[in-house]
Assembly symmetry: C2
Homo-oligomer: 559 residues x 2
């Protein structure tokens, strides 16, 4: 067997083209590209607005089964499919999310794909990149500082300091900041209260940036953020303390999509990265809509499995941005099927066709769910070295019974040459024009009914339970004019149910709602069904211990 190179070795050996050349392929003149080094660029706002009346390309969503520790390779498949489409003569752009800095120093690998299906420069993409997340951190924390400053200087808005709804953020895995008390130290520092930090990707500012259509819309949404409530329970908005203008200024450059390239020198937009639990988990609307003007095919992904990621992509991002997806690709692996079929991680090396068959229930549920949105589906089997022919055939046969097709893809090992079949199938489905996309529920359904619809139609739950206080809160928001908002479910990504250990395709389970939150700037209601961690911690031996610059100046240990 040939020597297997690591992702970073492959990325380092990439034959990158100057980013201006990649931009030129898309018809972007050099003066409309703001370079960040020679291999990254932001696309100018004026160029983007000049494309407004152009024709849109086809939109392909890459989603997946529920994630397992075996790994599915959703980003890898997204990047591979983009290369595959370019290989068969279509002009395709990949649209993925930016990586969070925090997890890089913990356990998580990079977020730039893998093997021969990566976007580069991968070190930059996984570290500071073009500074977007730092800008979001700054804008978020400026608002935090302005809230405490407003109270300090007399609290003209009568903010109830027990009901401040805005924390601070840091792009770091730092569990020590989850719950703090401050400001302490006396009169000069302010009024002590309980507060804390979330990781930057959990910031509502991140979700807003990813849903805003332009800078004006961004400013309006930032102004709509609810920062606190008064004693009479009326909301205080960010605009009430005049924070929206300066926040917009801080986000001016961050709003522009970032252009990089795949290992095969095809264009990739890497922009935005909201959490997929308390937010919608997709790359930015600006990146996706801009890419659609410039390419025949745009391949994008959504966070976690299709129960969370695809549902939010359809019901939040596509609904709000007026996007019409043409095809959905559901990524599965034989390994993950085996885990869904009850095999332990340490036994994945053994062939187990029965377990694959059993685990296919999870895949089948996702395929059928995606069809409910009216979008044609194809399954991509992301090939792993130890997969057996019999296991692959078992998946293919199962998917055929659903009236769909499963296609083996070897992009990780072979790049675009390994994913031509999938690319052709995607083109066939897209050009048939069979997609009749519509969201799962209408805008004017009641908020609780929307939650029930998702729980029953997508999760196959038996019931949704919620305390009176939760239901009262939802009614109050409806009365305040927020009834039309979509729902953003915060649920474990590991199961259709709220129990992360319940793999496969459970039915009749109960979805308990612990808490609801209004993201009035982003424009959705967050429904929390379990413990949701908005500030991760580091493991006992964080990967940062092995990250360093080697003598040639290359970064070691990032992956």
């Amino acid at each position: 067997m040939a020597e297997v190179k690591s992702d970073i070795e492959i990325a380092r050996a990439a034959n990158k083209k100057p980013i201006l050349e990649i931009g030129a392929k898309l018809g972007i003149p050099p003066e409309d590209l703001l370079p960040y080094g020679h291999d990254k660029a932001k696309i100018g706002a004026e160029f983007i607005s000049r494309q407004k009346d152009g024709k849109d390309g086809r939109l392909i969503l890459v989603t997946a089964i529920n994630p397992t520790p075996a790994g599915e390779g959703k980003t890898t498949t997204t990047v591979g499919l983009g290369d595959g489409l370019n290989r068969i003569g279509k002009k395709a752009i990949v649209c993925i999310r930016e990586a969070s800095l925090g997890p890089c120093f913990g356990v998580k690998g990079g977020a730039a794909g893998g093997g021969y299906a990566q976007v580069v420069p991968m070190e930059d993409i996984n570290l500071h990149f073009t500074g977007d997340f730092h800008a979001i951190t700054s804008a978020h924390n400026l608002l935090s500082a302005l809230i405490d400053n407003h109270i300090y200087w007399g609290n003209e808005q009568n903010i109830d300091i027990r009901r401040i709804a805005w924390r601070r953020v840091m792009d770091m895995n730092d569990r020590a900041l989850r719950h703090i008390v401050g400001p302490l130290g006396g009169v000069a520092n302010g009024y002590p209260r309980e507060t804390g930090f979330d990781i930057t990707v959990a910031s509502e500012v991140m979700a807003i940036l990813c849903l805003a259509t332009d800078l004006k819309d961004l400013e309006t949404r930032l102004g709509n953020i609810i920062i606190a409530y008064r004693r009479d329970r009326t909301p205080v908005f960010a605009r009430d303390i005049k924070a929206d203008g300066a926040m917009t200024v801080l986000l001016k450059d961050a709003m522009q999509p970032n252009l990089v390239q795949t290992l095969e020198n095809n264009p990739a937009f890497v922009h935005g990265g909201p959490f997929a639990n308390i937010a919608h988990g997709c790359n930015s609307v600006v990146a996706t809509t801009t890419a659609l003007k410039l390419a025949d095919y745009v391949v994008t992904e959504a966070g976690f499995g299709a129960d969370l990621g695809a549902e939010k992509f359809f019901d939040i991002k596509c609904r709000k941005a007026g996007l019409k997806p043409d095809v959905a690709v559901v990524v599965a692996t034989a390994r993950a099927m085996k885990m869904n079929g009850g095999v332990k991680k340490e036994d994945l090396g053994q062939e187990n066709v029965d377990a694959v068959r059993k685990g296919c229930a999870n895949l089948g549920r996702h395929v059928q769910n995606v069809k409910k949105f009216g979008v044609p589906v194809v399954v991509a089997i992301n090939h792993f070295t130890l997969d057996t022919q019999a296991e692959i055939e078992a998946i293919k046969s199962f998917v055929a019974t659903l009236g769909a097709e499963a296609i083996l893809c070897r992009h990780w090992a072979e790049g675009s040459a390994g994913i031509e079949d999938l690319a052709r199938k995607v083109v066939q489905l897209a050009e048939n024009g069979r997609s009749q996309f519509s969201p799962l529920y209408p805008d004017d359904m009641s908020l609780f009914h929307k939650i029930e619809t998702i729980a029953k139609d997508i999760y196959h739950a038996g019931e949704v339970i919620a305390d009176k206080s939760v239901r009262d809160q939802l009614h109050a928001w409806e009365a305040q004019g927020y009834r039309h908002l979509p729902i953003c479910m915060a649920k474990t990504q590991y199961s259709f149910s709220t129990d992360p250990n319940l793999r496969g395709a459970p039915t009749g389970h109960t979805v308990p709602i612990r808490e609801v939150r209004l993201s009035a700037g982003a424009g959705f209601i967050v429904v929390i069904t379990g413990e949701i961690m908005t500030m991760p911690g580091l493991p006992r031996a964080p990967s940062s211990e092995k990250i360093f610059l080697n003598d040639e100046g290359y970064i070691e240990g990032l992956f």
Copy 2:
């Protein structure tokens, strides 16, 4: 009188050249410039190391009298002098500090000069710029997270959690973060303790980045940071918890100097920005030493007045980096002389020659202090519109009595044309070769004796007083091998004394030492003589309220 344009109007009307052209003037090939947009670039590390054996240009320090609310225009004069030197045919580079984001939203104006002596793009320079400060914030806070994580997972290094010497930082004016208690919330979050945040410019990582000579030196210094003490009082270093490698990776790009241009299209390096109280207040060593290889003249500045800024520039930066300054320019204004002579700010519009004469005592002290370092001095009178001829003459006559010359400069209103005389004088003094620079005290003097030397020779204090605990601490550090370090005084910038209200040139005062801190990574002992604010607050009506993007997409209200 002609209409006076605002700084931002002038900056916006600038006829900027592409940054690659500015680099080409300095002989930097395009492949060694990493562009950030079309008007900013980082200079590649390889290019810098290729210059190692080149000849150095002349180094000019711009320093000032003690700052007053009247404003002195030190950065403006630095930028103006750079343009003036280029105007008279010298190849000159300006080296100034980067701006902190926090103060932009408070009260402070920009840090890019003013009038017709500015560096551009000024909005970028005053906001995220090339992301250096964000990288410093990340590296600092990664270390913070790793400390709490180390304790959380068993505290193998036996850190005494009452003696953690490392806080967190944020580039924001946020008084609510000065003193906090955390982590709270139980077992999963860690061990509660008192801690807090400083503003990023106060981070030791900032001082380290500005003093490090290359990435290897940076990594060594980061490893030398003392993060805490054990119960037996032995220090725990950043390298003990394996933080130095990943911190270096985060700072890799931030170590490269940033190239921008003046309004007259001359090159300016804007890089680094440590506090001038608890740190040394100069731009980076890498920027200055690189500029010296590329230009005939390098004009740089130091923070606050010459008692703090120039002293630290000479005793810390020049000593450690082996720099030999050729000329020092002391900036003064008639307005500031009047304030030093007892005039209130609201009366500055009135001619008052007597007050100017009286206030000159402050200027005279600074001129004589700088001469103690063996560096020739010239005084720049930064012209303000309402200055009278008699006031200017009073300053000139006074400076002549010191055996030096004071030259009126109109660069704010006229650009380089207004500062030709100063440029010629600087060239004359530099080319005379009269500078015989040496630091104020030798490395091997005891730490307390070094403090006394600064206090007596520079501040003209009568005595230095310190508790036994402070003296014991200094002795302990000497025993641990830190005796050779220079001193970094943290004193009010408004007076030679420790009383900010004592203007002019006081003598015989007492310098009380409140606290001493060891910045083992940066390589200096910080001596704190009063209340030093390391996290500013915002005013009642922060300037952020007036900052917004106008309909043409320009930033309004930043200045």
